[in-house]
Amino acid sequence: MAASILAVDDSASMRQMVSFTLKGAGYDVVEASDGVEALNIAKTRSVNLVITDVNMPNMDGISLIKELRNLPNYKFTPLLMLTTESGADKKQQGKAAGATGWIVKPFNPEQLLKTVSKVIS
């Protein structure tokens, strides 16, 4: 079975781009538009990787990572955040919350796939 990825972003175009790219590479992709939605999905099914935006309404990416990392099923799951180049402190906050790593925006599909292949084999 293909590895499943939860893509979280409030921006539909980014979400589509991420999802389209990953699906094209054969991954099974679930989408969520904010942290609350993502957390609900993560609780009801298991995914192999979470890629989340940081700035989102309702629950932001950092809180989502914190919540996910506390779930027993997500103790070791790679959690990646999408962040901007100016977000050095965001990276630190993300790390502190339990993020595995980050993908720096803007990125292109090739970079995304490369990063994803790093964390799920």
């Binding site: 781009m17 901007t84 595995t100 980050w102 796939l113």
Partner: protein
């Protein structure tokens, strides 16, 4: 794998424009006093999304510009900068510039760079002026290029000391993965240090006890290795030390360990073998990541934006559509079975099936029409900004109230009603609402109110613009009307007829032509635009109390409830909405008024008669005498008249086909439709027909004013 990013552009633009609206509304709300943190947050998020998306999809200029806005917003969000009126105004203006940039990008054009630069300078000025920290973040475009000093000598490989902290795996990282990645760069020798492994009874399976000494025999750039460790640099101790080729003079270079040590406080790198020298890394080569960054910065070749507008549809609407199509398919298969061995005794079932087919078709049609329906808030949303800007400019205090923003209207109506509404709201703000002093003197509250409302009434949508200003100057309008020769002094006009004069071409009473409104073009154009949408507009006003402008529009423009009429051999469709009644007129009700053509008396009014056969040049109409045919009383633009036709045929819904697109524009005809028997029928444009009849009959422009 190559992915065409252009496929995401449409969505990106749509959501960016939505984001701009969010920003604008948010900024306008901030404007009115206290600052809600969630408000700033949502503005920030919108800016952030636009920045992220534009960077990803190759609109670098947009992303750079948004970055500056975002920085300012970020400081406001963190409370490092007070929210001043000035900053809000600059941000509002920046939203406008950004909108233009996005529009230009969408059309594959270049934005007005001067304007962009000027606005950016404004932003920078605000940024540098405020109380915020002086941390000027890097420009969006200037990526993190290698800042390592250049050196002449290339290392032949790298030694990497990697000591994960025990919690490393709980961040979702995996030492094995990192080592594997290193191995992808070139031949890797790995030595595992198991000395930290505890006794089995103390062993925590989730902890990491191992560490590694790695040697990469490949002269890759140091950045490539750094990149691999980027995510874990705080979760491990690691050191990267270059392995230099033979013959290298260590004296020429600065102490190497210093740099490496910074990251590896725990571990002294293993001493280099005698023939190898260790040196401050200085790769000429750029890492793959850097090259990619370069490529990425080149915006993708701009394709002209894919034409055709799109529409966002509630999935509920689509579900009901699919449901309906399902029903239709069932009915169709039922009818098909019935047709296979049909005999007269199955007639009842056939009828029933046809009835179902009709019902489902109608439901399907309604559902499809629903898809085109959008809330009028799409149009209304621009007014808070407009009123805010105008009232600031004019020094007036105005509150804009909006109700019924969720009223749904056809997309075409939404697109076309915008400009007329802007004109009317501007008029209300400019001419209607008085200056604060004037208002106080008149015993009114200092702040004027403009109320924009929308609601469904019958088959129409009614939009009202109400203000509590000074109302229309009845006498001034009348006087001007007389000056312009639109009416004569002895015409006994009702107030409504006088107010209607402002819709005449070239009529403006503004004492001073301001740059806000009142250039003397306008109200007639407004009326024409609304008529073109099949709607009507009227004004009520009370001096000193304000005025109300009422616009009535059909809900949809694609389908029309029509009355089919015949004239000679021709069949025409009259929009049902414009018909008041249909009557037979006796000869003795007719009156010929000198210069005003043929009229008839209907209750208290005299209405002109328009003979359709004459207007459309139909040969051999069956009814020549008024008693042989039927008079259809129609109303348009506040005027009534009677259309004289041969007879009424029936009422039916017709699908409007554009005559203009398929043939050409014909005065008095708004479109065509195809009837059940396959023939084409023309749909009458009632205001146009009235105009036509005026040109044919008398040239006196006031002919219809008496009938209003």
């Amino acid at each position: 794998m190559s992915i065409d990013m252009a496929q995401f552009h449409q969505v990106f633009f749509e959501e960016s424009f939505e984001g701009l609206d969010v920003m604008e509304n948010g900024l306008l709300n901030m404007d009115s006093g206290e600052v809600d943190p969630e408000e700033i947050n949502s503005i920030f998020r919108a800016a952030h999304s636009i920045k992220g998306g534009s960077g990803t999809f190759g609109f670098t200029n947009v992303s750079e510009f948004t970055h500056v806005m975002e920085t300012l917003l970020d400081e406001m969000r963190d409370g490092r900068r007070p929210v001043t009126q000035e900053a809000v105004n600059v941000l509002l203006a920046s939203v406008d510039v950004l909108r233009d940039m996005l529009t230009a990008a969408q059309g594959g054009e270049t934005p007005d760079e001067e304007r962009v630069a000027a606005q950016r300078a404004e932003l920078d000025r605000v940024l540098s002026g405020g109380a915020a920290d002086a941390d000027s973040p890097p420009q969006a475009a200037s990526g993190s290029a290698s800042d390592a000093p250049a050196a002449d000598l290339q290392p032949v490989g790298w030694k990497v000391v990697f000591r994960p902290h025990t919690h490393l795996m709980r961040t979702g990282n995996d030492p094995l993965r990192i080592i594997r990645e290193l191995a992808e760069l070139g031949a890797l020798e790995a030595e595992c240090d198991t000395s930290e492994l505890p006794a089995l009874n103390e062993f925590e399976p989730e902890d990491c006890y191992l560490s590694w000494d790695l040697r990469l025999n490949e002269p890759v750039a140091k950045e490539a290795i750094d990149e691999i460790f980027e995510w874990v640099e705080d979760d491990c101790d690691f050191a990267i030390v270059p392995v230099m080729p033979e013959g290298y003079d260590p004296q020429a270079q600065a102490a190497p360990e210093a740099a490496a040590e910074a990251r590896a406080p725990a571990e002294e790198p293993a001493p280099a073998e005698p023939e190898l020298k260790v040196v401050e890394p200085a790769p000429e080569r750029r890492s793959g990541a850097d090259r990619r960054k370069q490529d990425r910065r080149k915006p993708a070749a701009r394709k002209p934006a894919a034409g055709g507008s799109s529409i966002r549809v509630d999935t509920g609407k689509i579900d009901s559509l699919i449901n309906m199509v399902g029903e239709l398919v069932i009915t169709q298969s039922m009818l098909g079975m019935l047709g296979e061995d049909f005999s007269m005794d199955k007639l009842a079932r056939l009828r029933e099936g046809l009835g179902q087919l009709e019902r489902h078709t109608r439901e399907l049609q309604e559902s499809v029409m629903q898809i085109r329906m959008l809330p009028i808030s799409f149009t209304f949303s621009r007014f808070p900004r407009l009123v805010h800007d105008l009232s600031q400019k004019l020094g007036k205090q105005i509150e804009l109230k909006m109700t019924g923003e969720n009223t749904e209207v056809d997309k075409t109506v939404i697109e076309k009603i915008g400009d007329p509404l802007v004109h009317l709201v501007r008029n209300s703000v400019d001419h209607g609402i008085e200056m604060p002093e004037e208002r106080i003197a008149a015993g009114k509250p200092e702040t004027g109110t403009v109320h924009l409302s929308a609601e469904h009434r019958g088959g129409n949508i009614v939009i009202e613009i109400t203000d509590d200003g000074k109302g229309l100057a009845r006498d001034k309008i009348l006087q001007k009307g007389i000056e312009r020769g639109l009416v004569s002094e002895d015409d006994n006009l009702t107030d409504k007829q006088i107010y209607d004069l402002i819709f005449q071409p070239g009529f403006s009473t503004a004492e001073q032509v301001s740059d806000v409104s009142g250039r003397g073009v306008g109200m007639d154009v407004v009326r024409r635009n609304i008529n073109e949408l099949g709607g009507s507009i009227e004004i009520e006003s009370e001096q000193g109390r304000g005025s109300t402008i009422t616009i009535r529009l059909p809900l949809t423009l694609a389908i029309l409830d029509g009355q089919t009429i015949c004239v000679g051999d021709e069949i025409y469709i009259v929009p049902l909405g414009s018909i008041i009644e249909s009557i037979q007129v006796r000869k003795d009700m007719l009156r010929r008024v000198a210069g005003k053509g043929e009229t008839f008396r209907l209750r208290e009014e005299y209405l002109p008669i328009v003979r359709m056969a004459e207007v459309f040049g139909v040969e051999n109409p069956r009814a020549r005498e008024i008693e042989d045919g039927i008079v259809v009383v129609v109303e348009a633009g506040g005027s009534k008249c009677g259309l004289f036709v041969d007879g009424l045929l029936g009422q039916q819904q017709v699908v409007i086909k554009s005559l203009e697109a398929n043939y050409g524009r014909v005065e008095g005809i708004s479109g065509a439709t195809i009837l059940g028997d396959g023939s084409v029928a023309l749909i009458m444009d009632i205001p146009g027909v009235i105009r036509l009849s005026q040109q044919d009959g008398s040239s006196e422009p006031t002919e219809l004013s008496m009938t209003a």
